[in-house]
Each structure stands twice: as structure tokens, then as C-alpha cells.
């Protein structure tokens, strides 16, 4: 007699493997460390302390491995041919002679890049320029050879025919609508922000004096001591490993996936020890080109920028042109301030939008200003691209608003320290975007600094250096 198979009742809740079941809470572990959560305005214990770095010993022994210190068997060395012309159509690129050189294993151009555009926000940067050159530091071809020396020599053999286009170099020109677009048909203005508070025109009408000033800052390169470097290895399973100094590896992974046209799951980015970043290693540069050279050759490929390339072909700090207009009472109290910022974005957007926003928000300075109109534009020019750098626009506007404050104080015959104490933020002041501010110690800091360097005010034998 055979037993009828039991009907298995379907449980209401599917049986879950153990690992998916909610686990009992882990027993509480108490640390013999008192966790100090600082109160608002309380000095944290870390400030002013000395710290020893975990990696300090290896640094001092010269044992830290930066990318250029890594070597993989059979590795090739790559160099990138730079356009050297600010704006042009590329009519042709002839790589035959370079490819024929002994020791050259592969050459690629922009046409070999599956999707030749990337960027942290706007996807306006080509990995290698193919049809158009947007700035002199653009790469137009990449060579992989058995030695760096051969790769460098091969660059000379690559013949590129350009049809020059008049470059747009002045950001104020670029701002005008009739100026030809760097990335035509798009307008050159690719970011804009306005902050409005109160009524500045009314404030100017009520002011005793109105001051105007224009301030400019220059382009600044990060100059990390370690130049840009990466190693790419495309393996036989179709997976790519990229050793990179990127500060934002997940973003870099997305950009590498986009440009190579393969899923992110096939890309592994290994973040290495970085020899200085300062914001200049926040997006990919040559990684996709190196990955493709590796795919083409079946060998790992390393690329290290020369110091010159670091200047021409990595991001820099935005130069700003800053117009300030400020209405004050005779005593120096600011009634209204109007600001226009023009950021020179260079050839590509990169982190311009972040920089634009931060510069605009901070442009009024740490002062209580009831009536404010701040407007910021970022424009394309045919110059080295600008991007993230320590402060994202904050240092540039600080130079402008503090210089402006000094000019006003001087014209009114007021001590530059006094005019700042009269206007500076207090605890609970509202920022230009109406954020309530805490832990505000601007005045205390100013007074302490003035005391420590012996500031006596302009009338009392002070040395005239601004606070």
C-alpha cells in the first residue's frame, strides 16, 4: 500500500533562509570610552591637538605605494597627444606612422571611445576629442608602448589636421548672447543663480554712501605633488580593473561605465593612496582611454601625466570677475548689497554648478545684510576646464567682499575692524538663503586675532593691515 503523498500546505509566510530572518539584536557592547558630543558653541577636544597618522611611518620610509610605484607584469605605458590649439575642428588624425614604430603596441583616438562624453553633472567632456577641440589641453589620441619613452616619441608621429576656430577666451565676452557658443548650439551660459532678499534699490536710495568695486581672481592649478596617474587592466572575462587616485570612485565608476558602454558590475575601481588631491582628482580623466588600450592589447596599461599636462589637462580653480555695489550709512552699517559674479568655467562644466552655488551663497560675506541681490553666471571659454578646488568658490568671493569692506572703511575713515564688528553675523543670524546660523563666533575671532597681532585701529598707530 502506497502512502498518499501529503499535501503540503502553503504557509502564509514563505520560509526564509536564516540569513534573511531578522536577527536578535546584538548584545550591547560598552566601550570604556566616554563619547563626548560637543554642545553648540562648545570647543571640541580635537581642535589644537596633534595627531599621528596611521600611514605616517610608511610615508617616511618611502614604502607607500602610489600608482606610479605599482607595476604589473607585461605592463604598457601610455601617453596622450594634446591638441595644443584652443579651438578647432579636427579634420583628420593619422596614426599610421606612430603605429608602425617598434615598441608601439596600440593607438586609439576619440572614435574608438564607445560613448565619448562624461562629466560629474553636464556630460560635456570628451575622453579624447574627436570632431572638435575645445581647449588646448584636450587629448586627441593615446598611445600604448613598451616604454614611456617610446610612447612619448610616438606622439610626435601622430599627424592631426586642424581647422582653427576663433577661440572664446574672455568670460565677459562669452556672457554676451551674440558670442558664438563654445559648445554651439548651446549658450555659453551653462549655470545661473540668483539670491534675493529685501529691496536693494530702495536700500541704495536710503544709503548715505554707495560704493562700487570690481574684483578679479586668476585661474589656479591644484598642483598635487603626485601628478594624475592610473592603471587599467581589461581581463579576459571582460572585466575592467582601474587603479585610480580618484577621490570619488563611485562617480568615477559610473563615468567609466558610461564611456565604455559596459555595465558598472564589470568595472572595479581600486582607490589607491593619493599624493594630494585638493579637489583636482574628483572626476575621471584618462581612465576610459587606458581601459580601451588595455582591451586592445590584452595588457595592463599605465598612464602618468607630466607636470605640464597636470596644468593644461586637469581641472583648475575658477577665475571670477566680481562686481560689488554696497550702500552704507555714515557709520558704516550695510543697508544693501548687489553682486554679480561671472565664473570662467573653461571648456567643460565639471564641478562648476557646485562652485557657482557656493560662491553665490557666500558672496555677501559673513555680514547681516537685509537687502541683497546676488547673481552668478558660469560661462564656457576655450580654456583649461575649471572644477572642484578647496572651498568651491568660497576663497574667490572672500577676497572680493573683504577687499570691498576695506575700501569702504577707508573711504569712510572707519577702522576696518570696527566696520566688520558693526556688520558681522551674530548667533542666530540668517544667512543670505535664510538659514539660521549657529556657533557663530566671527566677532570673537576677529577680536582675538586683533589682540594677538596687536591691532590698535587705524587712528592709534595700527599698521594699516586689514583684519
Amino acid at each position: 500500500m502506497t502512502e498518499r503523498p501529503k499535501v503540503i500546505e502553503k504557509p502564509d509566510v514563505l520560509e526564509q533562509p536564516d540569513i534573511l530572518k531578522p536577527q536578535p539584536p546584538a548584545p550591547l557592547v560598552t566601550f570604556p570610552i566616554e563619547v563626548v558630543v560637543p554642545e553648540v558653541r562648545q570647543q571640541t577636544p580635537a581642535v589644537g591637538q596633534r595627531a599621528t597618522r596611521a600611514d605616517g611611518r610608511l610615508h617616511g620610509l618611502g614604502q607607500t605605494k602610489y600608482i606610479d610605484d605599482m607595476y604589473f607584469p607585461n605592463m604598457l605605458f601610455a601617453k596622450i597627444k594634446r591638441a595644443g590649439i584652443a579651438s578647432a575642428h579636427i579634420k583628420s588624425i593619422d596614426t599610421k606612422e606612430a603605429e608602425a614604430m617598434p615598441g608601439v603596441i596600440a593607438v586609439i583616438t576619440g572614435r574608438d571611445i564607445p560613448c565619448n562624453s562624461f562629466g560629474p553633472s553636464l556630460k560635456d567632456q570628451p575622453v579624447l576629442a574627436d570632431k572638435r577641440v575645445f581647449h588646448a589641453g584636450d587629448g586627441v589620441a593615446a598611445v600604448a608602448a613598451v616604454t614611456e619613452q617610446i610612447a612619448t616619441e610616438a606622439l610626435e608621429k601622430i599627424k592631426v589636421e586642424y581647422e582653427p576656430i576663433t577661440p572664446v577666451l574672455d568670460p565677459l565676452e562669452s556672457l554676451k548672447l551674440e558670442t558664438p557658443g563654445v559648445h554651439a548650439p548651446s549658450s555659453n551660459i551653462y549655470g545661473h543663480k540668483v539670491i534675493k532678499k529685501g529691496d536693494v534699490e530702495k536700500a541704495f536710495a536710503e544709503s548715505d554712501r554707495v560704493f562700487e568695486g570690481t574684483f578679479r581672481t586668476q585661474m589656479v592649478e591644484h598642483v598635487p605633488l603626485e601628478p594624475y596617474a592610473c592603471i587599467a587592466q581589461w581581463d579576459a572575462n571582460g572585466r575592467v580593473t582601474v587603479y585610480s587616485t580618484l577621490g570619488r570612485i563611485t562617480l568615477g565608476r559610473a563615468d567609466v561605465a558610461r564611456t565604455l558602454g559596459i555595465p558598472m558590475s564589470r568595472i572595479r575601481i581600486v582607490a589607491t593612496v593619493v599624493g594630494g588631491n585638493f579637489g583636482g582628482k574628483n572626476e575621471i580623466r584618462a581612465e576610459p582611454a587606458m581601459a580601451l588600450l588595455s582591451k586592445k592589447t590584452g595588457r595592463p596599461v599605465k598612464c602618468v601625466f607630466t607636470r605640464a599636462e597636470e596644468f593644461t589637462s586637469s581641472t583648475t580653480r575658477h577665475p571670477l570677475i566680481m562686481d560689488y555695489k554696497t550702500g552704507v550709512t555714515k557709520q558704516g552699517k550695510i543697508l544693501g548689497r548687489k553682486i554679480r559674479l561671472v565664473l570662467d568655467g573653461g571648456a567643460y562644466c565639471s564641478w562648476s554648478e557646485t562652485t557657482l552655488g557656493k560662491a553665490c551663497i557666500l558672496s555677501a560675506g559673513p555680514y547681516n545684510i537685509e537687502n541683497l541681490y546676488a547673481e552668478a553666471f558660469v560661462v564656457y571659454t576655450n580654456k583649461t576646464m575649471t572644477g572642484a578646488m578647496r572651498g568651491f568658490g568660497a576663497p574667490q568671493v572672500c577676497f572680493a567682499y573683504e577687499s570691498h569692506m576695506d575700501d569702504i572703511a577707508k573711504a569712510l575713515g572707519i577702522d576696518p575692524l570696527e566696520i566688520r564688528l558693526l556688520n558681522a553675523f551674530d548667533e542666530g543670524s540668517l544667512s543670505p538663503t535664510s538659514q539660521k546660523l549657529h556657533s557663530v563666533v566671527v566677532k570673537e575671532s576677529l577680536l582675538r586675532a586683533a589682540k594677538r597681532f596687536g591691532w590698535n585701529g587705524i587712528g592709534n598707530g595700527g599698521n594699516g593691515n586689514g583684519a
Binding site: 599621528t52 617616511g60 602610489y66
Partner: protein, 164 residues
Amino acid sequence: MVNVTLKVNGETRSASVPPETTLLRLLRDQFNLTGAKLGCDVGDCGACTVIVDSKPVNSCLMLVGQVEGREVLTIEGLANADHLHPLQKLFEHFGSLQCGFCGPGVIISAKALLDENPDPSTEEIRDALGGNLCRCTGYTKMIEAIKGASCILRGEEVPAVKSA
């Protein structure tokens, strides 16, 4: 190709390399001594500093032809992990390096200074580091570390440094 034989960190080494090879490339690519770094390749940054016959040099500016038979000391030859040179000990202790890329060059420059001048003033230390660029630290803690190391090497106690 040229043949070159020299002493590196006390060991006799030779290689056959193209004549345009710099001492820095020779050390890094042929001898796998990657402690000295390539920061600029034109003599501006000092990341490649090594000692050649007791003088600090930018190894990126020296060609292999100039090093035949000479004695080279690199950061790897200064000490090992069990036994740090006082400079390395104090650079670690004071947190004198951040990214560390300039470190080997700076420490080698400092070593060359202390070999010549066992009790340098702050000015003299600054002078000795004149060819070494550091983008991270601002040099203050390096100078403290070098002063401290000079004390240790003279058999004196390292004076306490006050917090910022």
C-alpha cells in the same frame, strides 16, 4: 645603451639603459627603488631627492652617465621598519607628512643637512628644504621634526613642542 655601475644603499648595482635615462628612472624602473618620486621631472619639486656622494641632488636632473662609480643613498637605505632613522621616527611622531608624496625627498634633504650641520637653526632648515615642495603640510611640523631629530642625533632630549 650605456652600461652603468654604481653603489646604491651600500650595494653595487649595474644596468644597461638608454643614455637619456635619469638617475631617478634608473632607481625606480631598473632597481625597483620607488621611494624617490617623480613630481615634475624638471628639477622644481625635490620629490626625487637622493644623496649622491653625501650631497643631496634632484635625481631627475642627473643622467646615468654622471653616476658611474658613485655612491647613492635613497630613502630605502636610511632605515628599515624595525629600526627607524630619528628623522623618520619624528616625522611619524609629529605627523609631519600628510599625503606623503614629498616625504622621501624632504627626509633625504634633511638627512644631508644634519650630516653636515648637526645643530641647524630654523633658518638653516628652511634653506635646506628650499628645493623641496610640499603641497599639504605648510612645513611647520617638518621643521619641528628635523629639529627634534637633530637633538636625538646629538644625544639630547627632544624639547616639548607646544600645541597650536
